[in-house]
């Protein structure tokens, strides 16, 4: 992946999606992308596909074959953070933007997602678990189960997810 290569220029809805990828930094080996997305499901899909494409290649480079686990975990965390931002933070208002960044450095994946909404009581939400029969409320449990560290801003409209990768992915970065 060449530095600065655009992964996605427009979403399927025609809304602008600005994505900028980064080749491995020669100094710290970090790699990732940033994007500003409209609050649409198509934009979430586009960002998830870009993540899978970029980090899937990274994983395959390690041992010549795909190691799907870190890619699956990372993509799942990104999807949940973007869903929260699009559906709940911005209320699916397409003209409201979501900023996201995903970066791997020294084997650690860091995802940051910011929406333009009013925020929410993330402390109460993080403490709550969906009842068995409930169809919603599992996104934050995914954060708890898959991320090494979850940090919300005080208002709750910014989340930073750290995933300490292990195995091949980590060795690739070191």
């Amino acid at each position: 992946m060449r530095s600065g290569q655009a992964l996605t220029e427009t979403s399927e809805s025609g809304s602008p999606v600005r994505v900028q990828s980064r080749a491995p930094d020669r100094h710290d080996g970090s790699m990732g992308f940033t994007a500003v997305l409209p609050s649409t499901m198509e934009a979430v899909e586009g960002a998830a596909r870009d993540f899978r494409r970029l980090f899937g290649v990274l994983s395959r480079d390690v041992a010549g074959h795909a190691d799907p686990d870190p890619v699956f975990s990372g993509e799942l965390l990104l999807r949940e953070a973007l869903l929260n931002a699009v559906l709940h933070g911005n209320g699916s208002e397409a003209q409201q933007n979501v900023y996201c960044a995903a970066r791997v450095k020294r084997g650690n994946l860091l995802i940051v997602v910011i929406d333009q909404g009013q925020g929410f009581d993330w402390q109460a939400a993080m403490a709550r678990d969906a009842a068995a029969h409930e169809c919603t409320g599992r996104g934050l449990r995914i954060f708890r189960m898959y991320a090494t560290r979850v940090r919300f801003s005080a208002r709750g409209n910014r989340v930073a997810l750290l995933k300490r990768a292990s195995g091949d992915w980590k060795r690739e970065q070191e």
Partner: protein, 144 residues
């Protein structure tokens, strides 16, 4: 793609079961149940990713089927999706099996279900045509 016979339906989604694709799959599952399917199997052979909205759809389908004495099962899940089902305790609701389990033989990676008996729907479970947050037609209305 769905095959259906004598109250049994096998649904084989192609692609991920995520927020963007859930509406179409919900329609397909709802159609199968409306057509009389009571034992619905979701074959995940060609599914690489399921997000929280997709998990919610499966719970809604389980709720709807349980209410009419039916049963949901999932087969051919990848290792990553099996791990996700266990982490999210989905296997406590319905049978979840890994790749190679479709024939019912010895299964590598199968998760033994703690099945909710048919007719013993979890509290709050609602049917297909009822308004509520836990049926197949529900939206992802709460913060994930």
């Amino acid at each position: 793609m769905t095959t259906q016979d004598a109250g049994v339906a096998v649904i084989r989604p192609v692609g991920d079961i995520v927020a963007a694709s859930v509406p179409d799959l919900r329609t397909e599952m709802r159609g199968s149940i409306a057509a009389g399917a009571r034992r619905v199997t979701i074959d995940l052979t060609r599914v690489e990713m399921i997000d929280s909205v997709g998990l919610g759809l499966l719970i809604a389908a389980h709720n709807s089927l349980t209410r009419v004495g039916g049963e949901l099962s999932v087969i051919n899940a990848s290792k990553e999706i099996l791990d996700l089902f266990v982490a999210m305790r989905m296997h406590q609701h319905f049978s979840v099996r890994g790749a190679g389990a479709a024939s019912g033989g010895a299964v590598s990676g199968a998760v033994q279900p703690n099945t909710v008996p048919p007719g013993a729907a979890a509290p709050g479970a609602v049917g297909l045509n009822q308004a509520g947050s836990n049926q197949m037609g529900s939206n992802h209305a709460e913060r994930a």
